[in-house]
Symmetry: C2
Subunit: 279 residues, 2 copies
DNA sequence: CGTCTCCTTGACACAGATCAATTAACGTGG
DNA sequence: CCACGTTAATTGATCTGTGTCAAGGAGACG
């Protein structure tokens, strides 16, 4: 675990990491270089589309992290920024507790997504990044990556695209939508991520608790539960704790459609019949 | 009480001069090259900190826009993306109408801020950018700028910082806060922007309507009005339509503090650092 | 087989939305 | 300069979507 940002728990309050210590074995640390070239995520990650030579240079910079146990921190509020991270396996949340004691989940980070973008500017992390399940990330040392981006135009464009996509996706959930709409959109999004990572898009194994979902969607956990129950009653899905089966993805999508930026200019992929009106 | 950037329009009734000036009149158009070197915004804009030679190259790429009259579009949903914009004078909003007919104000863009970041990834605009008052922007042709960023390391870092700051600032308003907190934070933010652009930070001339503020803060316009009245009653400010006088900025700040990322790690006052209390 | 933690469900409360009416500014044209 | 229409802003009365409080279930795990 050569890279900082996750200096070992000084306070030792990552109790969980100790508990599942068996799982926290560093993944082929040391000399083994990451092989982005053979990573199934590459098409969705920064090195997408890099030429062989460029890819090699990129691989020389990237570092694999040790595995993160559920509940373990990747970085904490106050940590100095020096690296971006790309999720390789698992899922993390970034969150912060405000002075009034409320926890806000700023984002979930799925496989292939970047973590730490908001820390470039202040050069310091203002959120905690916490693994929700056993996870691993790639370290992208900021100095080196931005330096390399100057040599490799395609990499630079990829980075800018990545940051832009991050902004793009944030605009949806930050809008004014009902609880149903936000939760439906959340499930649709998780389904899409599952598919993207090669899984089934109708059988979702959520990585996060109801509490986390609620804090992300600006809801109470009870509301998340209730709306899931409502969705279940109307045959949209079947929910058993964190196991969600989407029975009627199109129906969910119809509810969430108003949050899809693409639906704003006729690019709409899905074309669900305009049957059910909610609200 | 000058609106930032209005310095050369003193006696001024902004709206009227805008109208009479004619929306299509290019500002010092034609051969006159933008002079970032003498722009008072430079410290807060992309070319901040560029060496003279780099600055010259940058100026050769940037294009000034024609002035935008209030209500005029800079771009529209569906437009192809080819340029970022930096606000030179005035204020714009980006917004979109969802399929249910609700308008969402995605962001306000004040002097010195970038517009269009979220369009890099999809290479297309998914929001409308509309001037709220007489405004002008600098065009930053994306191809040319990203190309130049490869030559000028400092520019590249500035761009990344700019995108990061954008993300950073979005995280606050997207959180779960009360209407009072969001409105207070909004006013504090506007005050800071005024100060940044050289104006008084307690005499605010809002560029946006109550409706726009409401759509931005996920509130009803009536709620915005009511909370302003409440603030006024408690002596925090004096509000007359779009003219806001902050009588007790510290009081407002106290309400908004929970939304300030910096208050999360003792950078700001308050915050008795009780070690790492993590749930 | 208790103890936990997470999740669900019900009853009730409230922040903020909605509906409705009034007032204040502004621009237009006479 | 004054009526006039139009739009923005305020204020009041009511309604409702979600939050809050409280009380179970139901797995997980030692």
């Amino acid at each position: 675990m050569p890279w900082p940002g996750k200096k070992d728990n000084p306070a030792g309050n990552d109790a969980k990491s100790a508990q599942s210590a068996g799982a926290a074995t560093p993944i082929k640390a040391g000399p083994a270089r990451p092989r982005c070239g053979t990573c199934i995520l590459r098409p969705h990650c920064l090195p997408a589309g890099l030429a062989p030579e460029a890819l090699r240079k990129f691989e020389n910079i990237v570092q694999h992290s040790a595995n993160l146990a559920p509940g373990e921190h990747l970085f904490r509020v106050g940590d100095k920024f020096h690296s971006l991270y790309a999720v390789r396996t698992g899922c993390l949340k970034t969150c912060a507790v405000d002075p009034n004691g409320r926890e806000h989940v700023i984002n979930f980070h799925f496989v292939g997504e970047l973590i730490g973008i908001d820390a470039i500017f202040p050069e310091q992390h203002f959120s905690d990044a916490i693994a929700l399940v056993e996870s691993s990330v790639c370290h992208l040392p900021y100095r080196a990556i931005s330096q390399l981006a100057r040599e490799i135009p395609e990499l630079q464009l990829q980075i800018l695209r990545g940051l832009s996509r991050h902004v793009f996706s944030m605009t949806s959930i930050s809008g004014d939508f009902t609880a149903e709409e936000r939760l439906a959109a959340f499930l649709v999004m998780v389904g899409a991520r599952h598919r993207l990572a090669g899984g089934a898009s109708t059988e979702l194994q959520l990585a996060m608790s109801r509490q986390d979902i609620a804090n992300y969607l600006r809801l109470a956990t009870e509301t998340v539960s209730r709306i899931l129950a409502r969705f279940q009653k109307s045959g949209l899905l079947r929910a058993n704790r964190r196991q969600i089966t989407l029975l009627n993805p199109e129906g969910l999508y119809a509810i969430a459609e108003c949050m899809n930026p693409y639906s704003r200019c006729g690019i709409n992929r899905h074309r669900p019949e305009s049957g059910t009106t909610h609200r």
